[in-house]
């Protein structure tokens, strides 16, 4: 009896030893040499795998960072300067200052401003609705309200407002990863420079129609009159296809254009209430 037990133990030990030797040789032979810094950088990255950096996830971005000669053009929008600083220390590179950004919705087509002309009961998906027809309003540039952007947001920074039927971006939670920008079939959401106290001034409209039809479709549409372009002291506003655009990196938040706009298409958000003109018609949305 005892010899059987002994033989079994010896046999199993020998087999184990043999397997260990084979595994060791194979492991040495096919060793994947990886830069240990990739793991270190990967650890300081947020691990959200949102793709905001333009790569397929945090580890892919870490690999790119380790290989890159300089940090020019590379940025983690979630971690921002802090994360990039840490990565720079690990890799002994110069961190490149990148302005933090924030997503803004360039449409103010609430049922009040933009009359609903039809009812949509197809699949609740913006891309489907966009491919089918112009939308529930006479404006076929504006928000479809099916919430593709909200579904795309991995940071719970968006929700659909049932009253305005528009998505709302929560400034504190938005990391400007750009997932919503990609999800929107109508390119309504834009990443803009994040200002102090999340102050924002932007043309809340993407309608490229001429003034008449645009205004007819929506009371707060940009009609391309060009008044804001003339009044801007910093040359931050440009006009193309009957639509004004404020460059957020040139804009100094002077608010002159807001009062000039005849339709109220320019929104100012998170600003203190103006004292000289308390009845400001332009502010239609306050976060």
């Amino acid at each position: 009896m005892s010899s059987t037990v002994l033989l079994t133990i010896i046999m199993l030990s020998l087999l184990g030893l043999l397997a260990a030797v084979i595994l060791y040789i194979v492991a040495q032979k096919f060793k994947v040499v990886e830069d240990p810094r990739i793991d270190l950088v990967n650890e300081v990255l947020p691990g959200a795998n949102c793709g905001g950096c333009g790569f397929t996830g945090c580890r892919a971005f870490a690999e790119v960072l380790v290989k890159a000669e300089s940090f020019e053009g590379l940025n983690c929008p979630v971690g921002g300067a802090e994360t990039m600083g840490k990565a720079a220390v690990i890799l002994d590179r110069q961190p490149v200052a990148v302005e933090p950004k924030i997503a803004v919705l360039r449409c103010n087509g609430t049922p009040e401003n933009c009359k609903r002309t039809s009812y949509y009961d197809g699949a609740m998906n913006c891309r489907v609705a966009h491919s089918l027809y112009g939308g529930t309003t006479a404006c076929h540039y504006g928000c479809l309200g099916c919430g593709d952007c909200v579904a795309a947001c991995k940071f719970d920074a968006m929700y659909m407002d049932p009253v305005t039927q528009l998505p709302v971006i929560i400034d504190e939670k938005c990391v400007a990863c750009g997932a919503c920008v990609k999800a929107c079939p109508r390119n309504i959401i834009e990443l803009r420079k994040r200002n102090r106290k999340d102050r924002k001034i932007f043309i809340s409209c993407v309608n490229k129609d001429k003034g008449g039809p645009a205004r007819k479709a929506c009371s707060v549409a940009c009609i391309g009159c060009g008044k804001c372009v003339k009044v801007c002291p910093y040359d931050a506003i440009t006009m193309a296809d009957n639509l004004a655009f404020i460059d957020s990196f040139k804009c100094k938040l002077c608010r002159k254009c807001v009062t000039e706009c005849p339709t109220g298409a320019i929104l100012e958000i998170n600003f203190p209430v103006r004292e000289e003109k308390p009845a400001e018609p332009a502010v239609t949305e306050v976060n």
Partner: protein
């Protein structure tokens, strides 16, 4: 025994309310809006200026490139505007707006009703004439006819199939055309046969149109090589591949064209337009549109100039009933709902259907129970539930492997789904995305 295609298919209520209503000519509207893109392919380029006087039949939009079609003025009058106008999709596209003055036609068009049976033109002349006259497939896909009439080198065509199926419920425009203009349609078929160089043609007609079957069968004796094939009523028999299978038993390979099995399919409406273009030199500026609906007081089939507002059509059919909930452009299965009625009739408008509110709302969407009804209904042998989920989750590479591009968007899956899932909505989106992916891959 009536023939049909073997795989899938459904039988929705036919509702052919206007089947016995003769085609009536709609009075000229005061203005027409003619979109420059009424066909598959590149939009036409306007060749008239604002303020120019035009005659009916005069060319106002020149085809751009090979896959494109000429656009002609449907009326005589003055060009008042050339600007983007909302079309049936609600999106704006370039259109020519013409204020109607009188009804003066170009001199070359023979407007008499006499039947000209003898085909004197050569093959090349026929194709050229169809191109000049801006003919497109009138079944709904609006593919330029002159391209389909030219058999490319290396391909062989031995048979022409004429689609008189009209499998969509409600629509009767092709049906009326066959009953009232049978001889003209068959002459058109003879012309297409000559252009293709084939000796036999089959007109496929579903059995719910016995008057059209008997009419064309009796007329076909006077034409060489044309036979009429009655078919069992089943949707989507009007699909090119289904019709070929039903009429000849040949199966078009996945991703292939009817020419791969030596067949070309044309619609009866197209055959009639070919007759008018070749024998009468009349460009495609009017078509038969069915305006129907259960609550309409005078539903009917109307001969309408292209560019007429849908509002005018509804007025002619007795005005919009108060209970209208949805207006569909095209058939109830494949057509698309209109967001507004002030849109022009185009070459592809086969019908306008007004649904009462009680019938127009979609039911609440429930979870898929994997019953497989959609797979049974699919005439292409696809798995709609899977394609729909793949598109919804943006897994387009997988959807491509599952042959999403073979879907012809007939809507049988959505119709049959007991959970009322919007299957086709997502499949359409996935198909469009996959086709775009494939195009990008080719250009790369």
């Amino acid at each position: 025994m009536f023939k049909t295609f073997p795989k899938g298919g459904i039988h929705p209520p036919e509702n052919k309310i206007t089947a016995d209503k003769a085609i009536t000519v709609l009075p000229l509207p005061s203005a027409v809006t003619v979109p420059l893109n009424q066909h598959i392919g590149a939009p036409a380029i306007p060749v008239v200026e604002k303020g120019a006087a035009v005659k009916a039949g005069q060319i106002i939009g020149q085809a751009k490139g090979f896959v494109s079609a000429n656009i002609h003025s449907p009326v005589s009058g003055k060009v008042s505007k050339i600007e983007p106008v909302a079309d049936t999709t609600g999106y704006k596209q370039m259109a020519i707006v013409i204020d109607v003055e009188g009804d003066e036609w170009i001199e070359t068009t023979d407007r008499s009703a006499t039947l000209v049976k003898e085909v004197t033109m050569t093959r090349e002349q026929i194709v050229e004439r169809c191109r000049e006259c801006g003919l497109v497939g009138l079944g709904g896909a609006t593919f330029p006819t002159h391209i389909k009439m030219t058999v490319p080198a290396g391909k062989k065509c031995d048979m022409l199939i004429i689609n008189g199926v009209e499998c969509e419920p409600y629509l009767t425009s092709d049906h009326r055309l066959m009953v009232e203009k049978g001889a003209e349609v068959l002459t058109g078929v003879t012309i297409i046969m000559k252009a293709l160089g084939v000796s036999s043609a089959v007109v496929g007609i579903e059995a719910n149109k016995p008057d059209a079957i008997s009419q064309l069968t009796s007329l076909a004796g006077g034409f060489e090589g044309i036979s009429v094939q009655p078919l069992r009523v089943k949707y989507p028999q009007g699909g090119e591949k289904q019709l070929i299978k039903a009429c000849t038993g040949r199966e078009v390979p996945s991703g292939g064209l009817p020419l791969d099995v030596g067949v070309v399919v044309q619609n009866v409406g197209t055959a009639f337009a070919v007759y008018e273009a070749v024998q009468k030199n009349k460009p495609l500026i009017e078509r038969v549109v069915t305006v129907t609906g259960k609550s309409l007081s005078q539903p009917g089939n109307f001969l309408v100039r292209i560019g007429t507002s849908v509002t005018k059509l509804i007025e002619a059919a007795g005005g919009m009933p108060g209970d209208t909930g949805k207006i569909v452009n095209g058939g109830p299965m494949m057509g698309k709902a209109l967001a507004m009625t002030d849109v022009p009739v185009t070459k592809g408008t086969s019908g306008i259907i007004l649904f009462p509110d009680s019938e127009s709302r979609r039911d609440e969407i429930m979870p898929c129970i994997r019953c497989g009804k959609c797979s049974t209904a699919c005439a292409m042998g696809l798995e709609p539930w899977l394609l729909s989920v793949l598109s919804e989750k943006t897994m387009f590479e997988k959807a491509e492997a599952e042959k999403i591009t073979d879907c012809m968007e007939c809507g049988a899956c959505s119709y049959t789904c007991p959970a009322k899932r919007p299957l086709l909505d997502y499949i359409r989106l996935g198909k469009a995305t996959v086709l775009k992916m494939i195009r990008e891959r080719i250009t790369k």
